[in-house]
């Protein structure tokens, strides 16, 4: 209903958007099935530490206690650890797969909360106007200036780090953009004749809002949501990077953090999560742009 046939056709023609969508689907599948197929990301194995990915080899110098010499050995990647290991021997592939799940969870849940709050406030503000509109928009301004980062630090300080806090912090402060966009759309929608027609039939306000206003802003909402998700994922990665994330969970940010010191030697520990973050953000952005172009009513 929202994404109709002619929209789907338009999207199909947009190759980057299609590629983005495929990547995201792949990511989903990986996140759901991956943990069953890979090793335990928390398994520590000092023997296998710092292994490069398959196909690469690296020279490492290790101090041999027995001979008291620096030995230079060549270590090769193997299919046992296709993407290599970190300095504690944890399998990179397993960690990335686990991280995918975390990122997608945070991405969708936090965005979901933000969109719900934003849409509700935007619609109510625009439809009823007057002092309510004023009050809600000033409230929105306040929230916009609120640094969710500090909020999270505060909560972590009080209750310890937890993924739920991350999701709530991002969701409860990230709805302002959506609220403004939805509000401006509803402001122009509510003067259209089909809304007047419903009023002339005696429709109640909830009916008009749910039956007419929200469906007509749905395409914008979908686009806003799709384009917000990468920001949320990056925010979570940033938080984990500095250690505010949930220590029990493996996330891309955490792995990045671990790899930042040894970029020259064991470069894969930082480059791999970096790449995957980059591709994920790109994929959502391509899809979001494609959706926006396809659903834009002006282009119909």
């Amino acid at each position: 209903m929202i994404i109709e046939k002619h929209h789907r056709e338009k999207i199909k023609k947009n190759k980057p958007a299609v590629l983005g969508l495929l990547f995201i689907i792949l990511l989903f599948v990986t996140a759901i099935l991956g943990p069953f197929l890979t090793r335990d990301p928390n398994e520590i194995n000092f023997n296998d530490k710092n292994l490069p990915p398959v196909g690469f080899s690296i020279e490492q110098s290790m101090y041999n206690i027995k001979t008291q010499e620096l030995e230079v050995t060549e270590r090769k990647g193997s299919w046992e650890h296709p993407l290599g290991t970190d300095d504690r021997g944890r399998d990179m592939l397993a960690m990335l797969v686990s991280g995918a799940r975390v990122s997608l969870e945070v991405g969708f849940l936090a965005t979901g909360i933000a969109i719900l709050i934003g849409t509700f406030i935007g619609v109510v503000s625009a439809y009823f106007g007057g002092w309510l509109d004023n009050a809600l928009m000033r409230f929105t301004d306040v929230i916009m200036t609120f640094p969710f980062f500090l909020l999270l630090v505060l909560i972590v300080y009080m209750y310890g780090p937890n993924m739920v806090f991350v999701i709530l912090a991002i969701g409860l402060t990230g709805w302002t953009g959506a609220a403004r966009l939805v509000r401006s759309e509803v402001l122009s929608l509510r003067t259209l004749d089909f809304v007047t027609a419903s009023k002339a039939l005696g429709a109640s306000d909830p009916h008009i809002i749910l039956r007419h206003l929200v469906p007509n802003t749905m395409s914008s909402i979908i686009v806003i949501a799709t384009l917000s998700i990468p920001g949320v994922i990056l925010a979570e990665a940033a938080l984990s990077f500095i250690g505010l994330g949930d220590p029990a969970l493996v996330s891309w940010g955490k792995v990045l953090n671990a790899g930042q010191d040894s970029l020259v030697t064991t470069w894969w520990v930082a480059v791999e999560p970096g790449m995957i973050l980059f591709l994920t953000v790109l994929a959502f952005n391509f899809l979001g742009d494609g959706l926006r172009d396809a659903l834009d009513p002006k282009s119909e």
Partner: protein, 310 residues
Amino acid sequence: MALLEVTDLKKYYPLTRSFLYSRIVGEVKAVDGVSFSINKGETLGLVGESGCGKSTLGRTIIRLEELTSGKIQYNGTDISNLDRRNLKWFRKEAQIIFQDTHSSLDPRMTAGESIGEALDIRGIKGDTSDVAELLEEVGLPADFASRYPHELSGGQKQRIGIARALAVQPKLIIADEPVSALDISVQAQVLNLLMDLQSEYSLTFLFIAHDLSVIRHIADRVAVMYLGKLVEQGSSDDVFNNPLHPYTRALLSAIPGKNVERVPLQGEVPSPINPPRGCRFHTRCPKRMKVCKEIEPQVSGTDHMVACHL
């Protein structure tokens, strides 16, 4: 008995200047004291140029806008101040059709859903066969119910709008420039449709338009509006064959293609925020006299009414 009787209706829009709180700095006097009545089965044509307030008048009459003062009587009942709950019965009695076919239908709903919604809102039980019947009434095949507005032409969209209005079986229909945006051949079809429906269901129309030829064709009585007031009212024949007010005469003479001596009007239409003192039309009237600048003319006449000092 008059189906609709309007007495001294006024609709003002406040102009606000807001800093921290809103202050009223003036008013747009969109409708400034309008009185008329329409009998059952009749079509009253409301004619005027842009900004005269005819659209606002139409919407205020069916209480889509709150009136500032005055009285609206429908079938003997005073509906001027009824609140939403008490107006529910009226919503089945009076409906409106719009000018802009692009915005009159929800683009996310099929034609059938738009018509069905009308039945739903007013709690009338209906199913696809009822929708099909309504489509047939307006001359469209039943399978149009599954079409979206962007798949329909202007004329077809207008018919769906009419079907939606008819769904609740109203007695009064406000037609707000229903054919102005349509091609000539489609205009003729829709006008014929409206006239057919009128005779079949004894509908009463308030037909708002700026095209005088259309009004002349379809209206029994005509009211000419200028800057929020009615300057002349009467039967279609009377007003068109014997226009009394200078503004009416100017309008009629301006219709292109008729070999009538043009009555030129000076200047521009004044703003409804600050209408001229005395007779509103005096700033542009070719026949203005001294008294016109001071005193507002009273309405004179019984059947063919006019507000002019002449």
